[in-house]
Symmetry: D5
């Protein structure tokens, strides 16, 4: 089941630099592992913003939340979730 | 080059029913042809809304606008465009 | 799987009265059938508004959309969907 | 009498970790006691957000406020209250 | 139990004048009867707007909704309801 | 002359506790003195929010501002002022 | 007593042209008479918008509302009122 | 050439008190000098808000910006500029 | 003096087609004449929207308003004006 | 390919003054080098705001993002990107 997620990141300027770097490294590893598993199906950066649009393919709402709330950057993110479904005009096999 | 597009459709209730049906048929054909060409890469419906999120892969802004303004439903749509790029954590070949 | 849905109804004042009455009768029957099936788990009216908050228990996003877009009042509604999950502090068996 | 409440939690990143943990433990106990009493009838988490939708069944506005303002997390929450009533199409006994 | 209600009125310019006048006459009678009964405790006009702030004193949410949805102008109003309670600093007997 | 005022209070979490307590005590005394004088005619708490709706009866805009800007909590408030007048349907003597 | 008023005009495109012209002529006469009386102290157009900022000098809220609701264009306006007072840094005699 | 400017001031609560007082004193002197020169033509306080509406009479956009960005309080202000012109119904000589 | 203008066009769907075509033809001629005169210095379309960003170089606010309110599409536009000035980092001769 | 970018700068008041000055100096050099290269085609200040409108001429979305995210002030900016294209009424050679 697919979900569209927008993540906007806002790291406070008084967060110690090493702490921020460590969080970002964990974030990248976490994201790539989920991408390899097929659960984090797409991720794109928005031009000019510290933000991404992502597509998740998960079993249910609970799994989606477990993934998102486990993001190392989660405390510094605003997250917007939109449930998706196959569009009646879609022709691509895997857009559902 | 990738763009994220949100389309919200609002057909006026006093538009004659046959006219609406004819527009919708043309819209579907138009969309599917662009999907087959590879330019309209993804399309998903938003649960509970008369709206879609789409990903376009076009040469430039002008081509994107030509495609969108050519949509039979364009006069009844609110369209929001966001330019995308490859996310530094992305692992999938074709997410850029 | 649970979803929270807010529906705001706005019937155009120039819609013929009998047509409106007929739609409302179908809406009520449609809603009650889904309530009996267990898919439309809760429905509450918002005091002072022509609107409701509802909880749906469906298999997936696609089933939710099929139900919502099938509402006789759907063309006159603004619908907002929020995916839910069990809260870690919940004690009630069926709140998930 | 039923009320719909949305709670959005935002804990400042410079709040000492032990203080946050202690508040969260009290919050959980407080919530579960009210759930057992029947006053906090439902609680659901919103997927991807540090937020919940809840349904309260209280005697009046004053009791609702006493409960909400007594939440250990109240100083870190944005709270939105909506008074509810039985929907004319509802069939479930206890949705009012 | 007290509720604060804001009503914004927007009468469509193509509503026949006599129909509008008849609705407004019924609205005034309806409001004054409820004021005499003590349920519609206060009503003030907002300077420069076709709107009012009102205070209702009702038994519960259901009674409030019955009163508001029975307003002759209800189909042309946007209504915002806020549940009130006695303020801890209030000294006036009847502000609760 | 009547004014409707909404006050939303937001005390920064890093304000020393004793300082906050001292401000709140002064706020209560200040409010009650103005209520006794008849200038602060009504005050109600909004259920679930650290906010109030109030009605002031003052000579002019300048007196209203002097009262509001003198509130001990003023630096931590967002204040919204709406000028009121007698509603043409009002029957209560003192709603103007 | 001074008030700042913003008026945004939106004339429906299906209003007969002669009717619109007649309303506009009355509006101008009405405004100029009030300007001559000193009650409508200033009026400026906003560049690029069918809107004005005005300053009114009236006895009280009720007189302001009588003037504004008597505007021939009132049914086609959105009006925003802000009560003003002398600024502590003002040096001009008549800015209060 | 006239401009309408709204200034909303928000002084951080952790700014040392003497520093704030010194800025405010400079702000007042700066404002009054510009008022005497005729460039800052009007200034009014908004009732209940730490804000003002002002009218500036300057040569061009650049002069306006030089004045505004030179305000001692500028780093703590949100500023909204609206270019004005003579209203076709205006009768006062100096409202343009 | 430079101004940034955003124009959003919304033509009502029940405007007769020939009338719309005639307005659009006049709009284009009007715009191009002003571009040739140097007053309408830039115009760009926004991808996916019936809107443009433009830069005007005019003598003052009054000339800007005369140009904008004279647009054949003006009754169907929402216009947003922002006064500009030379940026301190600009190197291009004619960006002021 | 052209993009319209709005940048709003907000430097925290507790950022050390020398650090801010150093960032601003780098920002200016960075901007002017990109202007000389032709990629940052226009930059204008908004009157009364710590903000600019800019036009970028880049190869693609990725190049735009590289430029924007490399801005020394990027962590303190809110950035809004709008893809542009040649307007059908444009006559100027280089507005595309």
């Amino acid at each position: 089941m697919l979900f569209h997620v927008r993540m906007d990141v806002k790291i406070p300027h008084d967060l110690p630099r090493e702490q921020a770097a460590e969080i970002l490294a964990r974030e990248k590893a976490y994201s790539q592992e989920l991408q390899r598993s097929g659960k984090w199906r797409h991720i794109w950066r928005l031009a000019g913003e510290y933000a991404n649009f992502s597509i998740f393919d998960v079993q249910d709402n609970a799994e989606l939340h477990a993934i998102l709330s486990g993001l190392p950057l989660f405390p510094f993110m605003q997250v917007t979730v939109t449930p998706l479904l196959r569009h009646p005009s879609a022709i691509r096999e895997d857009d559902s």
